[in-house]
């Protein structure tokens, strides 16, 4: 366990800087967005302008009730921006600590020590997930403080639950990246699959409900699992948390099981 702990600590140091800048970026995005809230609060003109858009467009971009606190947060942050940035951060961090490091040959010295390859990969994943947790916590803290300062009348519990769901969504796509990295140490493939599924999943969740024929299939998207219940206005259904967490767990277990079945890549 000493070896795994040492690897996790070293990986933590390696992702520290990236995690800091992601925290700054997410915090800045929240602050910048919330700065516009006073202008939107109760502005019926904006709501009327949005209402004049076709209903499918409003639905696809999460612009319902844009003048309300929940509608403002959903439309500007939690429908796309925050989950997207969380997920990109997760995929990038995991890719950097696994496929990218391995393909560059920087993992070889560590793997030559008394550590199981599975232990090393899991230790590095844990470091990435801790970094993701820091990013999520920072976002929640900035959001809750901004809500309080700007008198945004929304239940903090709903905001926290929404951010947690976004975080679990990011963890799922980070786990996808992990699985691909365990299968093949090809950073470009990891990014392509991770980001590709992220975007594809968003399109499924956002656009399928617009078409009657595709509407029932929107549920195949993890985005739908995370945000389909409108968690800024409704209590979070436990199955949504469980589906995201369990899928991530399955991806991690499968990746960890297969990582020893291939050769370590040399530069």
């Amino acid at each position: 366990m000493n070896a795994e702990m040492a690897v996790a600590k070293a990986a933590g140091v390696a992702v520290r800087r990236a995690a800091f800048w992601w925290c700054v970026a997410l915090g800045a995005a929240v602050v910048a967005t919330m700065a516009f809230w006073p202008a939107f609060r109760g502005a019926s003109g904006i709501s009327q302008a949005i209402d004049s858009l076709p209903q499918p467009v409003i639905q696809a971009f999460g612009l319902q009730d844009f003048g309300s606190p929940a509608g403002f947060l959903r439309g500007n942050l939690y429908e796309l921006l925050v989950p997207l940035l969380f997920s990109i951060a997760a995929v990038a961090l995991v890719n950097g600590q696994t496929a990218s490091d391995e393909s560059a040959g920087r993992m070889e010295l560590f793997l030559a020590q008394a550590i199981d390859r599975r232990g090393l990969f899991v230790a590095r994943l844990v470091a990435c997930m801790v970094a993701l947790l820091l990013i999520i916590v920072t976002t929640i803290v900035v959001q809750v403080v901004a809500d309080a300062l700007l008198d945004v009348s929304i239940q903090p519990g709903y905001v926290i639950a929404t951010a947690v769901l976004c975080g679990l969504l990011a963890a799922l796509f980070g786990s996808v990246a992990y699985l691909v990295a365990c299968l093949a140490a090809r950073p470009s493939l990891v990014l392509a699959v991770g980001i590709g599924l992220l975007i594809g999943g968003y399109l499924v969740a956002a656009l399928f409900p617009v078409a009657e024929l595709l509407k029932p299939w929107a549920v195949i998207s993890p985005w739908n699992w995370a945000l389909g219940g409108n968690p800024l206005e409704n209590p979070t259904e436990p199955w949504r948390l469980a589906a995201l967490a369990l899928t991530s767990l399955v991806l991690i277990v499968v990746g960890t099981a297969v990582v020893t079945r291939r050769d370590v890549t040399a530069p």
Binding site: V7, A14, E108
Partner: protein, 300 residues
């Protein structure tokens, strides 16, 4: 005979089902010896080492270290092995000190005094980020990590690549010290002079096969030697044409020139039939011997 530390039997490594990087290697490295593993680039030296360390899965063959199967129980036995990679890529953002702390922790801790001593001997700036270090200084950090560990088996793949001559000499001292404390060294290199200085035994690898093995002296004896003989009589060149080990035979005005491989005895038996004025057998050139091994066709 000392106990076997690293034993490799019939190692084969095939990539993608077709490219055969290693084609049936047998090696037996004994406790306390320095074993030179020579061969040109692409001979399969690094592939063999990466199989030993569990980085590559062998296609066939059996490998044990300290009597433990390396494929199934490699993790446990790697506690006793220290490794310097040939293609050295270290974490760029870490400092040497941070990397030493991490690797030390993975190995159960380096002895602090030993680490400091090595830092001084190798003149390493441990506080600078690795990305700002030269190739040679990165190599010195890798050597520090290997020699600070007090491992029983040192696997060193092209360990002096990028080092200046002073550090190359210091490296040889470190290997001798490791040998003195009973450690075994598996030294892969294509620098003949380095191996010939410290290796007890060597194996020469070419195109994935061991083409020669033995002590440096044994290999030297098997090397080609230039022979010149001056005669007082005028023997026919045909008399020397069929002598075992003699090639490129020429007779020019009572002076025989030829290249001899192996024992000089068959030639001497022929020479005693003549009146020999003078004879010169040049010291075998070890470098030529290895170049021959590097370039000779490999038997399938």
């Amino acid at each position: 005979m000392a106990e076997s530390v690293l034993n490799i039997e019939g190692l084969v490594k095939r990539y993608g089902g077709s490219v055969e990087a290693v084609r049936g290697i047998d090696l037996d490295i004994r406790a306390g010896e320095v074993f030179g593993f020579l061969g040109p680039n692409g001979a399969g030296k690094s592939t063999t080492i990466r199989c030993v360390l569990g980085l590559l899965a062998p296609t066939a063959g059996r490998m044990t270290a300290f009597g433990v199967d390396l494929v199934h129980d490699g993790v446990a036995v790697r506690k006793r092995i220290a490794y310097v990679p040939g293609e050295l890529r270290l974490p760029e953002r870490m400092t040497g000190a941070q990397l030493a702390a991490t690797i030390g922790e993975m190995r159960g801790g380096f002895e602090v005094g030993r680490q400091h001593q090595l830092v001084e001997r190798l003149t390493i700036d441990m506080e600078r980020p690795i990305r700002s270090l030269s190739t040679g200084n990165r190599r010195k950090i890798a050597l520090l990590l290997a020699f600070a560990s007090n491992a029983d088996l040192l696997i060193l793949d092209e360990p002096t690549s990028g080092l200046d001559p002073l550090m190359q000499r210091e490296f040889l001292v470190l290997v001798r010290e490791a040998k003195a404390r009973g450690a075994t060294t598996f030294l892969s290199s294509h620098v003949l002079s380095e191996v010939q200085h410290i290796a007890d035994r060597v194996a020469v690898l070419r195109s994935g096969k061991v083409v020669a093995s033995g002590t440096v002296d044994e290999l030297r004896r098997s090397a080609r030697q230039r022979v010149e003989v001056w005669f007082e009589d005028q023997p026919s060149v045909d008399e020397f044409a069929g002598i075992a080990g003699l090639a490129e035979v020429r007779m020019d005005d009572g002076r025989l020139t030829a290249v001899l491989t192996g024992s000089v005895q068959p030639l001497l038996q022929c020479l005693v039939k003549h009146r020999v004025a003078s004879i010169l057998v040049e010291e075998p050139d070890l470098e030529d011997a290895f170049l021959d091994l590097y370039t000779a066709p490999v038997t399938q």
